[in-house]
Each structure stands twice: as structure tokens, then as C-alpha cells.
Symmetry: C2
Subunit: 405 residues, 2 copies
């Protein structure tokens, strides 16, 4: 039951139904889960931290904390974010129960039913579900390999009769598209938003997971560009740098936005777990994060390289993709006449799952892509998974040729 | 900073300002905090649990889990709730990030801006802040020593032009009033609601904390009374039986309400921390809860007895209260011509704080009570705290006599 639930994390509900019909009892090779593999977690480090906590701090683990967060963790995050070039002095940190809660808080703070939110297309499924639950009107803007389509964004904003409340983007190692915005595109985006009063919600869950040290500077957040006429709320997560099970995230925003967000958070779950915050704080304060990230980057690079190699070997030539420079995902492009969902229906019967393209389209339509996650994949399953998936794709391609005769 | 933040937990914002003005740097005796004392937490038990987790379960601590909760914890909670007489078979459990999140989810599920919610007066501050954040119209019903005022509830419901979405009550060892509803009053309440379509939201955070084994049966929840024509949502918490720092609570409801609640939870924080759920599950599954509760009941009884004894000795005769049979609180009643807030302003200068009556009135007005929490109080501070508080009350009483001359 548990492994199954992990395998289906972030899948489209129709795909899950299909999966349950086909795969009950079978062992799955899953390219679906957008989470670290269980074998990658820093279990030993957290063991050491837990067992050397002083008694009074351990007691504090069990207690309520301030709504804004455990003060030492806020301090540690300040250093962490300062290192990323963020102006923490002019902003406030709110610690949240995962970065999804930050997105949820911001939505509750700014969005009433029927208000407009702009997103990328494709976009992070979790955020889309927050916006849908708030009954916002979602308008999405296509992205290309360098980031959001600037002209499309401009004309979208011009065409709307009301001002969107915010634009939600994940510029670094995008989920699901795997891309990173170029610095030029980031700058252009800020120029488009300047003076419009549209808030930029910059979700930065993956920026520590670059594959090449020399490209780290490309992960620089827009929040740190110093644009004076764009209000930017920056969100981050511990899910990719420690573990999703901690349910720890944070937002960095102006004092004014922080204050209202703190009130919303207070009414959502009072405060974030002290227990989890104290362990996370020690992880940062004892400088265990950077060595762990080095290990992670290497692990993900190896997985990416394996997936890339096998895709090159086995995929039919009609299938294309961009090689990611970091993060968790490869975003395959299909010929326009076949659908990701058809391939899913075929591959699931052979025991391979992934997330279909339409899952990430706010309109649940655009289905010419499929997301392969390599983060949760044991290295020795990658080749087998790619072979099965390639066969499924070939079969769907052949069928489509027969049908078009 | 941290101890201060704990001391002010659940205080009225105006009182906090007053406190900060007066008490900076001073050591405080706090009757304010509605939480267990740090020295009472089961640190040793959780140490043992953590250090004997099998490796694969420890890895699972770091991972995402299903939105509804960690399946083994749901199983353990089923047994726990079955022992309380609850019909878990006909209902579903949703695990939440603290029981406040359950209240928040239910509010998001049922309440739109301007909808009516019924509460007790006084009522739990955390819930009130959820209802206010949702911009609900709150109507409150007085309670007496045996529970909610049935006649006042009837006439309130009759007087309203719209059906309230739900009635929120905390029948067992009420926060702040310290009372427990009599079985008759629980029955009468169910009769009033029968067939009205008003949901009963039964918040049961304290029922394990009775002082007298023979009175345990009085804690029987209304959800377990088997009323067929009242929809009841039952919420519970680990904050009082394990530690608030775990941020673990749950709700038990019909399948239909559960399904919508799960969707709301999904968009609020995706899932509750696996780490915290796994530790809590072992605490239940290894039968560590019942011995710990025996210890807690004894500790709280001793504190209650000490507070009761010193109040009898030192309080002026104008001050009255009911002796609680469980829970955390004694709810002092003042003569109608003096205000809890005046006493607070006096006592805070001498280093004693509590929570003022108006804090628990949805209209922030009724101020003829004050809440003393004994749960968070070191035993050897109780007498000194009561002496200082009594002096403050006497001074305010004398001033009021002089003014009325």
C-alpha cells in the first residue's frame, strides 16, 4: 500500500485509476515520483544530530513554537539565503509546513474566488491544486527551453480585463520541464512585471541541485536581482535537501506580506513542528548540508546520465528532449499526433509508469509530453524501464501509422 | 525570546503588548500557557522508539506519505478510538498537522465568507481565529457548569435567518472553562441539533486527562452516542498526550466529509510529516500511551490540587470558581464590576501572567473571568504565583471600592 502510494505521487487521477486496474500486485518501475529515493536520505546524519541534542533542546522538540518559526532555524536560514545572494535584511522569513503550505498561505492572503493567477504551462501540479481549490481563474503561459515566453506573457497581461494577483514560476530546474531560465529571461521577466503590481511568486525548490559547479551562478534567484518595482515572494523547501517527510519549507517576503501570512499560518496549523525544525536547524548549523548536497548532486547526475544514455540508445527518433542541467526531471516531447496518456495506458500494462503531460497543464489538455523523474529511480532499474517505455512508445507510434492509412 | 514566546501563547494581543512593556527582562510566573510543561514530555520513550526503528522505517520518516495519513498510524488510531467507543468502521480518519488544521480544513470545506458558525462562549481561541480568518459570522452561546445552555442554543437557532454551518464545542475539560458536559447535557444538545442539518464539530483534545478513573465514562464523546440524525465531526489531538511539537491531530467523519477534507488538506500542506507520524504510531502501537497518560493524570492532578489549595487560602472571597475534574484549566469568576484586563495590568507588573477572559469571547468583550492554566506550571511556583495574583486582585477590588465612593 505504501510503496504504491509513493509510486503514484503527483500522478493524474485518471492515470491512477488506470494504474490500479492494470498493475495490482505487479512490481512497478516508476519514473513517476518527484521525490528523492529512500536510499538517498541523510539518515545517519540525523541520527547523530538527534542523539546529541542537549536535554533541554530535546524537550523543546515536543513543545509549541512561535508561528513564524523556531528562531534558531530562522537565523540559520538567513545565512543560507544570504549565501544565495538574497537580501534577508529587507525581508522576513516565515517557516511553513512544506513549501506547498507557503503557496497555500500566499493564495489565501491574496486570492479570492474568481481572481486571476498566472502560471507557466506546464506548471507544478501541487501549486495548481492549491489555485484550483481557491477557485482562482488560472491563465497559463507557455515556456520554452530558456524560460517563460515573454511575448506570450505580455500579450496575456494586456488581454486580461483584471490584474492578475500573481505570477507563479519555478525558474530553476523546472518541474516538470527540467529547464533553467537563462539570466536574460529572468531579467526580461522582471522588466515585464515592473510597475504592473503583479506579484512574482518565485518557487525555488531545486536550485541547490545543479549538476555542474560552474553553472551554480545560473541558479541566482530573481528575488536577488534587486528589482525595485516588482514585489517578489520567494519560497523554498527542505523536501529536496533533507527530506519531504520533514514537511518544512519557508517563504521570504516583505514585512507587510509576512505579517498577513503569519496570521493566515496561525489559523492554518498554529505553528510548524518544533521537532522537525530543531533537527533541520542542527543540520544547517552543524554544516552538514553542503557535504550532503555534494553527495546528492553526484547521485542525481549519475542517474540523469544513465537515463540520458539509455534514452539515446532506445528511444525512437521521433522522441526529443532537452538534457537537464540539474533537478529531477527529463521532459520528453512526442510527435504532435500521439498522446502521453496513450503511452501511459500501454506502458503501465508492462509495469512502467511516469507522469503524463496533461497532468501539468492547468487545463488538463496538452498531452504531447511525458515527465520522467530520475530522482526516485534505483540506478539498476533505469535501463529496463527505458526499454519497456521505448517499446510502449513504438507500439503507439505504429498504431497511429496504421490508423492514418 | 523563546521562553517569552511560550509564556504568551494564546494571550490576547493587547495583553501581550502590555506584557512586553512591563516585563522585559523580568522572570515570569505564567499561568497563561495552555500546554504541557517541558519537563512532562515522554522524551525517554521517544528516544527509545527512535533508536530502535528498523532502517527501512527510518528512511520512510524522510519521505512523503499519503495525504490521509501514514497507514499504520491510521490503524493505531482506529484501535485508540474504538476503545473510546467510537464507530470507526462507519467513518474515516484523516490525520492532520495538529487538530487546529482539522478545524481549519472543516472550515474551508463548509464555510464561505459571511456564513454562520455557532460556538460556545467562552470558546477555544485557536478555533475562533480560524473562524475569524474565514470571515465567518460567529454567534456564541453561553455555557454553565454542566455544558452549553440548551435554551439559549434553541432560541439562537430559531432567531437566525440562515442555517449555521456548524456548532463548534469542546465538551470534555473545556478550554478555558475547565468544565465537562454532563451526559444529560450532551444528550440534550444532540436532541436540539437532530434534523436541523447543523453539523456538530466536537473537539476532544482533553478527554484522556481525567483526574479520577471512575469518571472516565463521563468523557464519552457525543460522536459515540449513535445519534442518527446529527452529522458529527470529531477531532482529536496528540498535543496533550504526546507533545504539541509533533503537530499531529486527526478528524473522524463520514466518508463524504472525509473525501472533501482530504482534497482541502492536499492543497494545504500535501501530507502530514511521516517522521512525526511514525514516532507517534510506535508510541501507540508499543502501548506506551497508557502508562504515560497515568503519569500525566497524576502530575496534572497534583498541580490542580496545589492550585486549588492555594487559591482557597489566598483568594479574596469575592472570587469564585468550579474545581475541574480534568484538563488544564481553572476559570476564575470575578465580581461583575471589575475586569480581568485590569487585574492583568496589575499582576503583570509583579511578574505573573494569565489569560484574560475577553480573549475567549468571540466578541472580545466579556471580561469577568480569568483563565489559570496549571499544566505548564512548575509545582514549586504555584503558591508564589497565587499570592501575587491575589494581591493584584485585592488591589483592583480596593480601587474599585474607592472609585465607587
Amino acid at each position: 500500500m505504501y510503496a504504491f502510494s509513493n509510486a503514484v505521487n503527483s500522478m493524474h487521477s485518471e492515470d491512477i485509476k488506470q494504474l490500479m486496474k492494470q498493475a495490482s500486485g505487479k512490481s512497478l518501475i516508476s519514473f513517476a515520483g518527484g521525490m528523492p529515493n529512500n536510499d538517498l536520505f541523510p539518515v545517519k546524519q540525523i541520527d547523530d544530530i538527534y542523539n546529541s541534542l542537549p536535554e533541554d533542546i530535546k524537550k523543546l522538540c515536543f513543545q509549541y513554537g512561535p508561528t513564524s518559526g523556531y528562531p534558531p532555524l530562522i537565523k540559520s536560514l538567513e545565512s543560507y539565503l544570504k549565501n544565495k545572494g538574497l537580501a534577508v535584511e529587507d525581508n522576513r522569513i516565515l517557516i511553513t509546513t512544506g513549501s506547498l503550505q507557503a503557496i497555500s498561505i500566499i493564495t489565501q492572503e491574496f486570492v479570492n474566488e474568481g481572481d486571476i493567477i498566472l502560471t507557466e504551462n506546464p506548471s507544478f501540479l501541487g501549486a495548481l491544486s492549491v489555485f484550483e481549490t481557491a477557485r482562482a481563474e488560472i491563465h497559463s503561459i507557455p515556456i520554452d527551453k530558456d524560460g517563460i515566453d515573454i511575448e506570450a506573457l505580455k500579450s496575456k497581461i494586456e488581454s486580461l480585463d483584471r490584474k492578475p494577483k500573481f505570477l507563479y514560476v519555478t525558474p530553476n530546474y523546472h518541474n516538470p520541464a527540467g529547464i533553467i531560465y537563462t539570466p536574460e529571461r529572468k531579467k526580461e521577466l522582471l522588466e515585464v512585471l515592473a510597475g504592473t503590481g503583479i506579484i512574482l511568486l518565485e518557487d525555488d525548490a531545486y536550485s541547490d541541485l545543479y549538476f555542474n559547479e560552474e553553472e551554480q551562478h545560473l541558479t541566482k534567484s530573481m528575488k536577488s536581482y534587486g528589482a525595485k518595482d516588482v514585489e517578489i515572494i520567494y519560497t523554498g523547501s527542505f523536501s529536496k535537501i533533507l527530506g519531504p517527510g520533514f514537511r518544512l519549507g519557508f517563504m521570504l517576503s516583505s514585512e507587510e506580506i509576512f505579517e498577513k501570512a503569519e496570521t493566515v499560518k496561525q489559523a492554518m496549523d498554529a505553528c510548524t513542528s518544533n521537532f522537525m525544525q530543531i533537527l533541520a536547524n542542527e543540520f544547517l548549523a552543524q554544516h552538514k548540508l553542503e557535504p550532503y548536497l555534494k553527495f546528492l548532486r553526484n547521485e542525481y547526475l549519475e542517474r540523469k546520465n544513465l537515463l540520458q544514455k539509455h534514452l539515446k540508445t532506445y528511444m525512437p527518433k521521433e522522441i526529443t528532449w532537452n538534457e537537464p542541467k540539474g533537478g529531477f526531471y527529463i521532459w520528453l516531447k512526442l510527435p504532435s499526433h500521439i498522446k502521453s496518456t496513450e503511452i501511459f495506458n500501454e506502458s503501465v500494462t508492462k509495469g512502467v509508469v511516469f507522469v503524463t503531460g496533461r497532468t501539468f497543464d492547468p487545463a488538463s489538455k496538452k498531452d504531447d509530453r511525458l515527465r520522467l523523474s530520475f530522482s526516485n529511480m534505483p540506478k539498476d532499474s533505469i535501463e529496463k524501464g527505458v526499454i519497456i517505455l521505448s517499446e510502449a512508445i513504438k507500439k503507439v507510434l505504429e498504431n497511429s501509422k496504421i490508423e492514418s492509412l
